[in-house]
Symmetry: C2
Subunit: 346 residues, 2 copies
């Protein structure tokens, strides 16, 4: 299942509320992030994919994926990741009580699909033993943008799976450096594999009403509009992963497959390549002299002179200029636009 939500405000003005990150071809590959996610899962599950998305984007998701309404779960409103994933789990559980469910966000990027598939296959084998399994990304550096997974002992009988000691929040830079130096920590990319029934039973231990509510919606889809609004808003990490890890019920399969969540323009620039200057859009309309960073060119001529690590994003109705260092602050721009009544631009 693919949760397709989140606006990606740090990628404004490319991503907007009406055109969120997952619906965009951010890397110029010819496929949107949602399409790339489905493409990547096809070798593993064929067309057995459910996309959970909001009503506003359901039509675009259907058009981009070619999926019929039987493979789209349309949320009446956003209720965080546990409701989205748990709903899909409840639907699958009714079809097959032994079904495995795996969750992969619609707006991440992975460059080594083969390594990803191998990692998921091992995770599925581990999940078949009744554990909840997460994919832990081998850190390429001491990032402060991600939560971390602390690995424990190797699981016997598997190539690389280990128990999970704990999930930890996004660290400060010093802590992140000690995490990475220890070799015991992986990035938490929010990828989970488990039996649908195991996931829901674990949820029922801590949040019985939420688990029951999701199972009731799956049993009676007509109840969705009313039942949905009563569901607890909580992230899957807090609802299931952390409590289950504390009881030794979570494993991690470490992976290195070029994952990135494209959280901001610095992340996007890194994904695009090694060259100091990365260009998106109509490169023929760009004149860049002694410039590094990321420039997205639209219909107009863009000229950039003598700037290091600059970010210029030109679109038809809005222009962003910042630096790779300040890329996280783009969300503040979106907040400022909303505060000044320019919602039509966000």
């Amino acid at each position: 299942m693919v949760p397709a939500g989140g606006a990606g405000t740090r990628l404004w003005p490319l991503s907007r509320a009406g055109a969120p990150k997952f619906l965009l071809d951010l890397t110029g590959s010819g496929r949107t992030l949602l399409q790339q996610t489905c493409d990547r899962l096809a070798p593993l599950v064929g067309d057995r994919v459910l996309v959970v998305t909001g009503a506003r984007h359901a039509q675009a998701v259907g058009e981009q994926t070619g999926f019929g309404v039987d493979r789209l779960l349309i949320e009446p409103s956003p209720r965080d990741s546990m409701a989205a994933i748990g709903w899909a789990a409840a639907v699958l559980e009714r079809e097959d009580p032994h079904a495995l469910i795996a969750s992969f966000a619609a707006d991440h990027i992975i460059t080594d699909d083969e390594a990803f598939v191998a990692c998921v296959r091992e995770a599925a084998e581990v999940a078949d033993t009744g554990l909840i399994v997460t994919l832990g990304i081998e850190p390429s550096g001491p990032s402060t943008a991600f939560g971390y997974i602390r690995a424990g002992e190797p699981l016997s009988g598997f190539a690389s799976a280990r128990t999970v000691q704990a999930f930890v929040e996004k660290p400060d830079a010093e802590t992140a450096a000690t995490y990475v130096a220890s070799g015991e920590f992986r990035w938490n990319a929010g990828m989970f594999v488990a039996r649908a029934s195991v996931l829901l039973d674990e949820l029922a231990r801590e949040h019985p009403a939420l688990a029951a509510g999701l199972r009731a919606i799956a049993a009676d889809p007509a109840s969705l509009p009313q039942a949905w609004e009563g569901l607890t808003k909580i992230a899957i990490d807090h609802a299931v992963a952390e409590p289950a890890a504390a009881r030794g019920q979570v494993a991690v399969v470490p992976g290195r497959f070029g994952w990135d969540d494209i959280g901001d323009f610095a992340s996007l620039a890194g994904v695009l390549g090694e060259a100091p200057l990365q260009v998106l859009g109509a490169a023929e309309n760009l004149t860049a002299l002694d410039t590094s960073g990321l420039v997205r060119v639209g219909d107009r001529q863009v000229c950039v002179v003598g700037l290091e690590n600059i970010v210029v994003v030109d679109t038809g109705d809005a222009l962003l200029v910042t630096s790779l260092d300040q890329a996280q602050r783009v969300k503040d721009v979106v907040a400022a636009l909303k505060a000044s009544g320019r919602d039509e631009l966000t």
Copy 2:
């Protein structure tokens, strides 16, 4: 007389070949630089102003000034400042052999008009004695963007006029600092006052064919199209000011009247005010967080985050992003656009 020429390529994309600097209201004052120049001269000469400009801009100059064709001298092609100023001098000389001519570029800015008028009045008194007089700007710092005038002894009988020892080229930073520290140097703003006949006679010493050619055009305006193309291309500094200074025939009246040639966006930002961030255009369309420098906003929303001394100039068909430090290099952008066949944007 007002020479109205020069594209101002370092102010691209505001200034273009078809809309040069002097035709623009660069400071948001409501008057173009050409109009401000004529406004400033009115207390001195009323409507006795001649504008010398190129054929391409003659109509716009006429519209902006309200001047009839009797006050516009239209150059068939650019032949540098000596031909432009000398032509006006030759026209005036025919009307009145004792006439004084003063030359002030159409694309400079002056903030203290009263001080300017007082300075020009003293220059006119000195010029009446038969000297060529230049206005020397009191340096506000060791600029490397201007040539300098080295002053000599005070001229007796005048409030502040001094002889000119020499005109010197744009210096390097170290030399500029010694110039300014000495107190003997003024910026050369290209402002001259002289009897028309003195100017042409001085020209005739070094460049007799050019002086004769200009006088012949004034005597027979119908000969202009053919005669013009044979004139020597040379700047007034080299043709007249430097040789005359070497023979002790040039005086300088020092002045401090908020002069700037608005040579580039750093210069423009300084003219606009002291605030760290200067905004031109539709300020209501700008969201700037922790940003200093100069931003020109057009029709679209512009957002700038966390950048010091940035320059962002947004227009309908072209966008420039650079820094105040690199402002001189904007001319390289224009050259690059021409080289890549994008002349329509320059």
